[in-house]
């Protein structure tokens, strides 16, 4: 009896492991398929290097430091751009929801700007801020701000008036009330907007670095591709894909933690 009781958690852990293996089975199959295709179909060309070659190139890239320096510069741009987008986007959305004049002034701009493909701004940001970090940060900021703004706006609009009254009757002034009540009420929808922004960040980052940059993942992909080092190029592409996936996963964990007050 005791042994059965002890065995139970063991078994569920095993189940959990096999479940997650099962979940990523398509990825494993893809990897095997890749390896086979590369070896037997593209054997004579270098257009599709085999996965093992890519892995070797990846180790090479890490060793000579290229992946690290370019990666650091990309992550710096992405981080600063997204952070600005979140801070300014959230503030904008909340003020738009709460103060009519701000809404009247900004709503048409938001509506016009939102559907525009932000990659069209790449040349503009380069003209303004040059080839370096500034133009990428500006692009990511502009591209990612509106999903955050719209999330924050909708969330803030849905604030329960009784919560506002509660805070006011307990001595909160108007600004304090915005911070203590409207902001937390806006957070669930805002977090969804930020998740969209996170995905956009990677897209805009790599696109803009591919087109005009001297550093970063995108630049590295373009450079390696032009030189015919396809194995290394794939190594960088896979690295970016993995980082995007990991960022989303970590973000989802964070979201669950922030929203733990909901059922």
């Amino acid at each position: 009896m005791t042994s059965a009781a002890l065995a139970l958690p063991e078994r569920t852990r095993l189940q959990a492991v096999s479940m997650s293996l099962f979940r990523y089975l398509p990825l494993v199959l893809l990897a095997i398929g890749w390896e086979l295709t590369a070896r037997f179909v593209f054997a004579s060309s270098s257009a599709l290097p085999s996965l093992s070659q890519v892995a070797a190139a990846w180790i090479e890239l890490v060793k000579d430091g290229d992946l690290i320096t370019h990666g650091a510069s990309s992550l710096y741009r992405a981080g600063v751009g997204l952070l600005l987008a979140v801070l300014i986007g959230a503030a904008l959305g909340i003020f738009m929801a709460w103060w009519r004049p701000v809404n009247i002034a900004l709503a048409p701009l938001v509506e016009m700007f939102y559907p525009m493909p932000k990659s069209a701004l790449i040349p503009v940001t380069v003209i303004w801020l040059g080839f370096g970090d500034g133009s990428k940060i500006l692009l990511i900021f502009l591209g990612c701000m509106l999903p955050v703004t719209i999330g924050a706006f909708n969330g803030a609009r849905g604030t329960d008036r009784a919560l506002v009254w509660s805070a006011r009757s307990m001595g909160a002034g108007r600004l304090r009330m915005l911070w203590d009540v409207v902001l937390p009420s806006a957070i669930p929808e805002m977090l969804n907007g930020i998740r969209t922004a996170l995905a956009l960040t990677f897209i805009l980052l790599v696109t803009s670095e591919l087109i005009v940059a001297r550093q970063g993942f995108g630049y590295l992909i373009g450079y390696l591709g032009n030189n015919g080092s396809y194995d290394a190029m794939f190594a960088v592409v896979l690295t970016v894909a993995f980082l995007g996936f990991a960022a989303d996963r970590i973000y989802q964990r964070l979201m669950q933690r922030i929203l733990r007050w909901r059922e």
Partner: protein, 264 residues
């Protein structure tokens, strides 16, 4: 000046204007005065405007017709002199029970240690020990209600506006909370306006009971109900029972009118 009652409501009307649909006249020409340290119960059929009247006194809704003054000053905004317990609790869902109760004290700038002690004593008082770190979504309706009461009592407002504060409680807890409220009211000077559907509760707790008419709400009658609240057997005395019956009749008339109004 000092003869002026603490809360004076003078010919107040209130119309709701929903963005879609036609305007609703919720309160029509309500006049009422409540003295300092008085305990007034407000009775009336559902939808007659009891909550609306509390919101106006609280300063949450704009006063369009008539005036409301508190301590001879017209009400223009909410303030911590008037604490309210909302019918639907209005706890901050992202704050724990403890943080909810502490909120008013934080806004008053009470030092941390003093605040924590006070919050803990209120948690004990409303019987929520062990749930300090729960979020409102994890509490039952009655527990939420008790947390909301504790939150409002915490910052010790001189006027308490209570909107069916014991509505979600079982009979046992309700009794406990009633006597707790009475003892707080007897210990610390407070004016209470207490909305309830329970006539016996109203007669037991209040000095006066105001009965409102069906919508549009008016004050139909005000009845003096000063009984000895420390008398355990008060519920059985003939005077008390008769008083409850008489007020029941008044309320029932209005409830029937409210029903009829809905059909037509």
């Amino acid at each position: 000046m000092s003869g002026q009652p603490q809360i004076v409501i003078d010919k107040v009307c209130h119309t709701y204007r929903p963005p879609r649909g036609k305007p609703v006249l919720a309160l029509d020409d309500v006049s009422l005065s409540v003295g300092t340290r008085e305990f007034l119960a407000l009775l009336g059929p559902s939808g007659c405007g009891k909550s609306t009247l509390l919101y106006l006194i609280g300063g949450f809704l704009p006063i369009e017709r008539g005036t409301i003054s508190v301590e001879s000053k017209p009400v223009t905004a909410p303030g911590p002199d008037r604490g309210i317990v909302f019918q639907h609790f209005a706890l901050f869902p992202w704050k724990t029970v403890r943080a909810n109760i502490a909120y008013g004290l934080e806004r008053q700038g009470m030092p941390r240690e003093q605040r924590e002690a006070r919050v803990q004593s209120l948690i004990e008082m409303v019987g929520l020990r062990g749930f300090e770190d729960s979020f409102p979504s994890q509490l039952s309706g009655g527990m939420k209600q008790r947390a909301a009461i504790a939150r409002t009592l915490a910052f010790d407002p001189s006027i308490l506006l209570m909107d069916e504060p014991f509505g979600a409680l079982d009979a046992q807890t309700r009794h406990l909370m009633q006597s707790e409220l009475l003892s707080i009211w007897q210990r610390t000077p407070k004016t209470v306006i207490f909305v309830t559907h329970d006539v016996q509760e109203a007669v037991y707790l209040a000095d006066r009971v105001a009965v409102m008419s069906a919508r549009p709400g008016r004050i139909k009658t005000i009845v003096d109900t000063k009984f000895d609240k420390n008398d355990k057997n008060i519920f059985k005395t003939k005077q008390f029972v008769d008083q409850v019956d008489a007020i029941w009749d008044l309320v029932r008339d209005e409830a029937i009118k409210a029903q009829g109004g809905r059909e037509s």
